[in-house]
Amino acid sequence: MPLLIDQRIVTEDPWQLLDQAALDEGSPIPENGPIAVPIIWYRQHREALQQRNSPLGVIVNGDDDLAALYADHSQLDLIAIEFPTFRDGRGFSIARQLVRSGFNRQIRALGHVTRDRLALMQSSGFNAFAINDERFQTDHLQAFSEISVNYQGTTADPRPIFRR
């Protein structure tokens, strides 16, 4: 799964993303190294997870209740937001609210992350993009610069065009 950060391909992704089904089946939590767990699991096992002396992240999607997360994410180093289908755009607004709440570490797009939405995701606050192997092509990197104009403002520069 190629991962893009800063519009470049990163080869070393230290993060292990654990999924709910595996956790439910008792798959063990790695003792070391950065891990991200589904937010439901995080809420249930928060203290144990924070005992580990490694970076911690959560995985969320549009069905989760995220108000508490926006209020308290200072312990987290990564928040991964899932796009379950191509047409599901809730992740854009979640990223926007997350940035607004002051979260400034990795916001990773997961799931249906394809070339034609990369630039929109970046403008909405994502800074890391996990793309499926079958879909990935190196020309994806050009997607960020196809449209150089944005009227609305981005996370990098939140001023809409009339304030620039």
Partner: protein
């Protein structure tokens, strides 16, 4: 009108290239069908019954004559010589080739036109009053705010994948000519107790299979908060709108499910985070937007005695011109000028259709007589907003020579009609044959004038593209075992007194539609008191007498 600067032009040019590449990747098999479908829809491209269909954006209905000529050129070069104006004031081309669409878009970009967000689950073209800036009963010209909304909504990174399409209408007059109560968001300019002008915000209106009138969630929104408030509404909708069922995905369903009070609470809560932030409109930005919609250079001499006398002469000597003047022109704010409506409802032609040569003719007239501008209306007509009274006769003659001067504005044959089964793959029934039938049946203009203002709208299916719910007489095509039938409703309105029509009873076969309309009108004529309009009679007597006449069994 708004002129692109280098930034706007760069955006549309880059968008053309982006779409060219998406089309290339799709044709090469690199882009799956379902993804390309969402991407092409956001660029106005449908795959329809006949061919692909391209819907070109006409932001808030305003067209320069240069743009109109370019549309004529596109119709001639890439299509079959005509286009179709829609209720959303856009224009559709029914026969382009998929592979040619990037080239069409490149041609349109030369005149600052595009097809961005004319379809798909994003914020669509914002619509407004076609008489904005010239109407007499206007609080303020809504177009600068439409332009501000256009920029904010164009390629909005966060709102490109909404649960469903999203339509905003803005109106600045006391009379609502933008059907703002049946839009996802209706913005109505209002004045508060302190004399300030702002917006009343209506949310959750819409037609389609679940027709609903919008609910007011804010009585007064100061202008500088326009964008932050819209942002808050859209964010709540993007996060909470249903995504499991596309028929329940519009914001109107969310507002109904939560109730307007809870919906308002969520919006205000979201808004509290951003209300004084970067999106707050500056005075400079409002002034800049307004600077594009200043008054044209009106002729101070337009109302002179000669012009007046010559108009009087023409009206007295030419009864056809006289009828056109009475029905197709309207009072103007400036003395000596009138608003002239170009009827796209000629006898036995598809309502809203316009040929390449007609587009060229309108462009020429706009240049010569109306400061080079034309407006498209949601009634599928065009408007020349600033014609000198002394020029009206010449304008009428030129329009008549191009089959654009039928004096039927506001009458029964000024119908809104969607293309129906002939062009639309979603249709249940044909519509264009029925509009012909009605035209043939009611071909006596004096009879139409006697009936007065009547809005008849006809949709080929439940999607209600032709606003049949909000017509005096609404006709909806339904399919019964492979045959076309038509359900009729009465008493709707899309104006400030917006209401949904009531269904008359069982649907009628295709052969009986005009006859049924005749019976309905006969009841009106019987019942009307002096000067009472069709709408007033339906409101007063209800639909029962109409029902009885239409479904009376023959003795």
């Amino acid at each position: 009108m708004y002129q692109y600067n280098q930034i706007d032009q760069t955006l549309v040019d880059e968008r053309v290239e982006q779409f060219r590449d998406q089309t290339r990747r799709f044709l090469k098999g690199e882009l799956p069908e379902d993804e390309f479908s969402a991407l092409r829809l956001m660029n106005g491209l449908y795959i329809q019954r006949q061919a692909p269909m391209l819907r070109v954006a006409v932001p808030y209905g305003l067209l320069s004559s240069t743009q109109m000529r370019k549309l004529a050129h596109v119709a001639r070069t890439y299509d079959r010589g005509y286009g179709h104006f829609t209720t959303r004031t856009n224009i559709q081309f029914n026969w382009p080739e998929l592979a040619a669409v990037p080239d069409i878009l490149a041609e349109l970009a030369q005149v600052q036109m595009h097809a961005i967000q004319t379809s798909g689950n994003c914020i669509r073209n914002t619509t407004t009053d076609p008489y904005a800036g010239v109407a007499e009963n206007e609080l303020e010209d809504p177009r600068p705010y439409c332009e501000i909304i256009r920029q904010w909504s164009t390629l909005h990174p966060e709102f490109a994948y909404l649960p469903r399409k999203f339509k905003i209408a803005v109106t600045g007059a006391t009379e609502d000519r933008a059907a703002s109560q049946v839009h996802d968001i209706g913005l109505q300019m209002v004045q508060n107790a302190d004399g300030e002008i702002g917006f009343e915000v209506l949310v959750g209106g819409g037609l389609g299979r679940t027709p609903i009138i919008g609910k007011s969630i804010r009585k007064f929104l100061p202008k500088q908060h326009l964008l932050s408030y819209l942002d808050a509404i859209l964010r709540v909708y993007n996060l909470k709108g249903r995504r499991d069922n596309k028929y329940k995905a519009r914001i109107k369903i969310l507002v109904e499910a939560l109730g307007p009070d809870e919906f308002r609470r969520l919006v205000e809560e979201e808004w509290a985070h951003i209300r004084d932030g970067e999106l707050t409109l500056t005075d400079a930005e409002i002034a800049r937007a307004k600077s594009f919609f200043t008054l044209p250079d009106y002729d101070a001499n337009a109302a002179n005695a000669d012009a007046h006398a010559s108009l009087g002469d023409s009206l007295a000597t030419d009864i056809e011109f006289n009828a056109w003047y009475r029905h197709n022109t309207l009072a103007h704010r400036v003395d000596g000028y009138r608003i002239a409506i170009v009827s796209l409802k000629p006898y036995l032609e598809a309502p809203g259709d316009i040929t390449d040569s007609q587009m060229d003719a309108v462009a020429d007239l706009a240049d010569r007589y109306s400061f080079g501008e034309t407006r498209a209306t949601h009634h599928q007509n065009l408007v020349l907003t600033d014609v000198r009274e002394g020029d009206l006769y010449a304008v009428w003659q030129a329009l008549a020579a191009n089959n654009l001067a039928r004096s039927n504005i506001g009458t029964l044959t000024d119908m809104i009609v969607c293309p129906g089964f002939d062009f639309c793959s979603l249709a249940n029934a044909r519509t264009l044959n029925i509009s012909d039938q009605i035209n043939e049946h009611f071909d006596d203009m004096d009879h139409l004038y006697d009936l007065g203002e009547i809005r008849l709208n006809m949709s080929g299916c439940i999607n209600a593209c032709a606003h049949h719910h909000v017509a005096d007489i609404g006709i909806l095509g339904v399919d019964k075992k492979g045959e076309d039938w038509y359900q009729i409703s009465l008493g709707g309105s899309s104006k400030e007194d917006a209401r949904l029509g009531k269904i008359l009873g069982r649907s009628v076969p295709a052969s009986d539609v005009a006859l049924t309309v005749e019976k309905i009108l006969a009841v009106y004529v019987d019942q009307r008191r002096e000067n009472e309009s069709f709408a007033q009679v339906v409101l007063r007597v209800g639909i029962k007498p109409f029902k009885e006449r239409v479904y009376a069994t023959a003795h």
